[in-house]
Amino acid sequence: MSRKLLLENAHIPGIGGYDVYRQHGGYRAVEKALKTMSPDTVLDEVKKSGLRGRGGAGFPTGMKWSFLAKPEGVPRYLLCNADESEPGTFKDRFLMEKIPHLLIEGMIVSSFALGANTSYIYIRGEYSWIVFILEKAIAEAYAKGWLGKNIQGSGFDLDLYVNPGAGAYICGEETALIESLEGKRGNPRIKPPFPAVRGLWQSPTVVNNVETIAAVVPIIIDGGDEYAKIGVGKSTGTKLISAGGNINKPGVYEIDLGLPVEEFIYSDEWCGGIKNGKRLKACVPGGSSVPILPHFLVSKTANGDQRLMTYESLSDGGFATGSMLGSGGFIVYDEDQCIVRNTWNFTRFYHHESCGQCSPCREGTGWMEKVLWRLENGQGKMGDMDLLVNVAKNIEGNTICPLGDAAAWPVGSAIRHFREEFEWHVREPEKCMRGNYGLVRESKTALEQLQG
């Protein structure tokens, strides 16, 4: 049984409201930080904790905070990235729905550390009911003196607002998020300048994921050293994993980093094994962007070590035989799933979500989608796999933001590990479309059958 730092109280009835949250120790981190610590000592604790960005990149949070420029007389901003849109990822939603005050508490402590007096939570527009959950919790926090002027007599002021998006994966990229928050299209900015120097309204800005900001609360209460005792090496603390796909128990789990992947998939405490007694075929451990792992690389790394849920272990072997922890969007595929179709599906997603600024991404994602569609529909050519790899390579690294890379990696890895299945689609188009491997035909047939 892993300990829970974030979701410990999530099941308690009424925890979404201020009173119950406070009764269970809520806002202790704010009290401790504002009354007994300075912004720099809060930063030191976060550095000591080893906390890394939980949105996907895994960049050390303390280091990110320390980059924030602090010119005199210029406001600084903390933005919470709640634009959770990476396919497979639904952990931040769970946290915000169940225990919104935890995020607000984390925002207050983090804003204090950064010297931000105005902060925003940018949440994807589709989570619109959560906008109102958060705003209700924020109103309670204002009423109880945790937000506003001179918080708890500390002299620290903070205004906190919620800003919704309106349907755009790209706004999870931090500079696109800033553009969107400024009331514009979510087109990522060229970096440098980095947001830490010129972000929201050209002011120094830090953008952190929901889970990252929430994790600051236990770090301040227990101390960074305590937090760092959990986990393995540079993967410290706990991580929310949202598990989906062909497993018995999909859902959001808080794990200690370092849990063996095999245990996570098969233990009844977690995913509970593969649904319908089927076998594992593949796994995408960190959201759709990260390389897919074939079954034989899921439990063990290429050199035979046990694969762990850590930043390092999941990426062991590089992209040749590894993947990434990413956002914690854990997708499991059983033996019946078609890798070609799944790759096409993901590529359609990236094509749809490309903002269109950079030609390699705008055009490349569309070409990959078309080639994958023809492979899946029995019109593929043997040269298509090399073509796809070529297009993917020409996108990767050639775009303003990482969406290009995120679109390229699933394609490259699927062909690297499942080339035979792609070739089989070319060699046996009929068989593939008749069997489970041709879900397109199945759904067409389903519609035809329904129409009699």
């Binding site: 990822t89 939603r93 527009g125 589709e126 309106a166 755009a168 299209r185 796909g245 799944n342 599906n345």
Partner: protein, 180 residues
């Protein structure tokens, strides 16, 4: 998405909505009130039968003291804004990865069959519009769809039948973007 070629009927926010949008503008520093645009458009769409006409967008521009083109730029970028008229209930069915492997494609086929429309179309009685959308962050509860401000999860054919009945009986709550 393309903006509708006709202006739509004249649009003005209701007095409450106008007051709310003016309140939203104050959440941002002086001169930065353009940031209220995304939510202002959500509210305008809700008050304009679920879509953003040119008239609605022009009104939002006027209220926010910005040019119409700034509003069109934003409205055409984000997928939640409908730029053509829609039915009373807009079914936004997720078709991305995890939903797809849990049966989203069959579900979409079923909805198409039941409603007699293709994706992107509206039923003749103006009740339903079917949209296929990308990942909505409910991968563990697949397949799913969004209708108004709420998610409908773990869907299957029976649940869809019940959903259609409930819509016709006026029992489905679409939620609201307005303060509540």
């Amino acid at each position: 998405m393309t903006i509708s070629s006709h202006n739509g009927t004249p649009f003005n926010y209701s007095p409450e909505a106008l007051a709310e949008v003016q309140g939203l503008m104050k959440k941002y520093p002086e001169g930065r009130h353009k940031s209220a645009i995304i939510r202002a458009l959500h509210i305008a769409q809700e008050e304009n039968n679920g879509w953003l006409s040119i008239a609605a967008m022009d009104h939002v521009a006027e209220v926010l003291h910005i040019t119409s083109i700034e509003v069109y730029e934003v409205a055409t970028f984000y997928s939640m804004y409908n730029l053509q008229p829609v039915g009373k209930y807009v079914l936004e069915v997720c078709h991305t990865g995890p939903c797809a492997i849990e049966g989203a494609e069959r579900l979409i086929a079923y909805i198409q069959h039941k409603l007699g429309i293709k994706t992107g179309e509206t039923t003749a009685d103006g009740m339903f519009t079917l949209k296929e959308v990308e990942c909505l962050g409910a991968c563990g509860y697949a397949p799913m769809m969004q209708v108004g401000e709420f998610f409908h999860e773990h869907l299957n054919e029976e649940k869809m039948d019940r959903f259609f009945e409930d819509c016709r009986a006026g029992k489905i709550n679409k939620g609201t973007w307005k303060m509540h």
